[in-house]
Symmetry: C2
Subunit: 354 residues, 2 copies
């Protein structure tokens, strides 16, 4: 059994609520669905020529390597909060969301030239290494990127296949989620290249990539699968506010966090000129920061940022966003238990350490 499955979904905690127990059981089913689907796919492409199986193997390895399964968690929370009953349809949809996320990660890692993901070499880095070691024809970098593009496309195709056959409303929400993910990433990549110190752009990117893609659309998909289109009115502001808080926490962990605690490399965004909301605010309030970003001086940038009021301003903004997320659930037709769960989720996502 892959390490991830245990780490991801089956860690037991005493005193769990029935709502959390139900969510955990469905997340276990998502792990089973991922494993079974990917095992069939690896087998399918292993013959007659194993070269065709490489994209499926790359997808499997990244799924096995773990991850927070955040989007499946939000989808299933939305489904259960909407009164949905356990069944195959939400499990398949949650599995689809995780596979779409794998696609996005593999492609984003090419765009960012990231070396490692979930504790392992990224798909493009691994395949560039194979090309180099084998002394193959052509350029190792281009080969690695080709294999990553294909692995991402396959994970994307898996996601769509698992989402096929749902209602028109679900299909529309699913399309919007994907289109927003792409538009958000295009803004992010172009904003990073332009080095535009624009907090509005950074906020809009966070809205699309974190608010909509990570929280609002998964919750709304879950609610729609349970036949509860009415919950969109609450899940949209909840998701948008929580998504921004989640992204700001990401930025803070990268900027000021301890790599040992967070388990991932820190000080990455600065070196890449990534226009986080944190950085946009800092560039506005301190003229020298722009030069440090342009020269890729990550350590000096970190020192300079520690001396500004940015950290405290961002923490205060996170507080307001969590409050706004919780307030937006007020008018929604939810059981008291699930209202409490969604409030607890907002806090744990916004105030996490890694």
């Amino acid at each position: 059994m892959p390490a991830s499955a245990g780490g991801t979904a089956s860690a037991r905690a005493h005193g769990d609520t029935p709502a959390r127990e139900e969510l955990r059981a469905m997340l276990e089913e998502v792990e089973g669905c991922l494993r079974a689907f990917l095992a069939r796919e690896r087998f399918r492409w292993s013959r007659p020529d194993g070269r065709g199986a490489e994209p499926a193997l790359a997808v499997s390895e990244l799924v096995d390597a773990g991850g927070k399964r955040l989007r499946p968690r939000f989808l299933l929370s939305g489904y259960l909060a909407a009164g949905g009953e356990a069944g195959d349809v939400p499990v398949r949809a949650a599995t689809a969301l995780e596979l779409l996320h794998v696609a996005a990660l593999v492609h984003d890692d090419v765009m960012d030239d990231a070396d490692r993901r979930r504790g392992r070499p990224t798909v493009h880095a691994r395949h560039a290494g194979i090309h180099r070691d084998m002394g193959w024809f052509g350029e190792p970098r281009r080969y690695g990127e080709a294999m990553a593009i294909l692995a991402g496309n396959l994970a994307w195709a898996y996601a769509d296949h698992l989402m096929a056959g749902t209602s028109r409303a679900v299909a529309g929400e699913w399309f919007d989620l994907k289109a927003e993910l792409i538009a958000g990433q295009a803004m992010d990549v172009t904003g990073a290249a332009e080095l535009t110190p624009d907090p509005e752009l950074a906020r809009h990117i966070a809205l699309l990539k974190s608010g909509r893609y990570t929280v609002h659309r998964p919750l709304a998909l879950g609610a729609l699968l349970a036949g509860r289109a009415d919950l969109a009115a609450a899940f949209q502001p909840y998701g948008e506010a929580l998504g921004e808080a989640f992204q700001l926490r990401d930025d803070l962990i990268d900027a000021f966090g301890d790599g040992v605690v967070s388990g991932k490399p820190v000080r990455q965004d600065f070196g890449r000129g990534k226009m986080t909301l944190l950085l946009a605010l800092a560039m506005r309030s301190d003229g020298r920061i722009r030069g440090l970003v342009e020269r890729g001086e990550a350590e000096l940038l970190h020192e300079r940022l520690s001396g500004t009021a940015v950290h405290a301003r961002v923490e205060a903004r996170i507080d307001r966003l969590v409050e706004r997320a919780c307030d937006s659930l007020d008018g929604a037709d939810l059981t008291p238990e699930w209202r409490r769960e969604l409030i607890a989720t907002a806090s744990s996502a916004a105030y996490r350490e890694r």
Copy 2:
């Protein structure tokens, strides 16, 4: 009105059969569907920040630049040959196929580092140029590739959205088409890197990328949309044989064709070490060819190939494949008119000059 629409679908020929007239009318509808869908999408992403619209603009431009619309043509042929009646569903599905193809082209051009496509700069080349001209932060090449990955993903998402809501059988065929496209491309990229002189691998790649993806699956999708699953038994061998013939003609045009007649750059495959079936056969029969491929000596390779019997052997194989494609229609329940059309299509695809 974009030049493509006229060039692609509305060229009139005297003496067309009713079957061809009907096909042409539906292909016109596909052009209208492409234009309307993409216009809505460009508008949707133009606010509040135009950076998010770049992927949609890139997809639009490539669609407007023309193309043979081969896969929509096969899908609609399969639909009409199966007795389907004009309607929105086949037009949307044919539009989806063309958008998926645009996605594949944009991504393939990154993998091949191609500069031009449909007479214009490729998406990654154009965006790398913008980055360079603007003096932006980071590497122009990586930026160009990021924008191409995103444009391809968006075209892919469009395709899936247009295909949503179809039957379980259609969804299964659609998934197989996409998975085979990816597996075939993975084999192609790896085979080219390894320089393996393996005609079986080259034939399998042609089976997946041309036979299945270009001919068989589009025809089968059309037949399934008309409720005629029975036609798969004829369309599969027809598509596989015709697809291989089509690919061999591509190889011959690249190797021996006249760039002025074909309207595209020739002698491209050799320089890239691309393992075409043509090259695999030649490497087997002439030991010196491998060295020329490894050193990227495209002109010497061309001279050497002209001296072997490869050209004639490939022409003979195309003849046999066309015959096999036509024979496979024998037992199928088709009108005499559509049987004739499909036979004519096989000849024109296999014996084209560009």
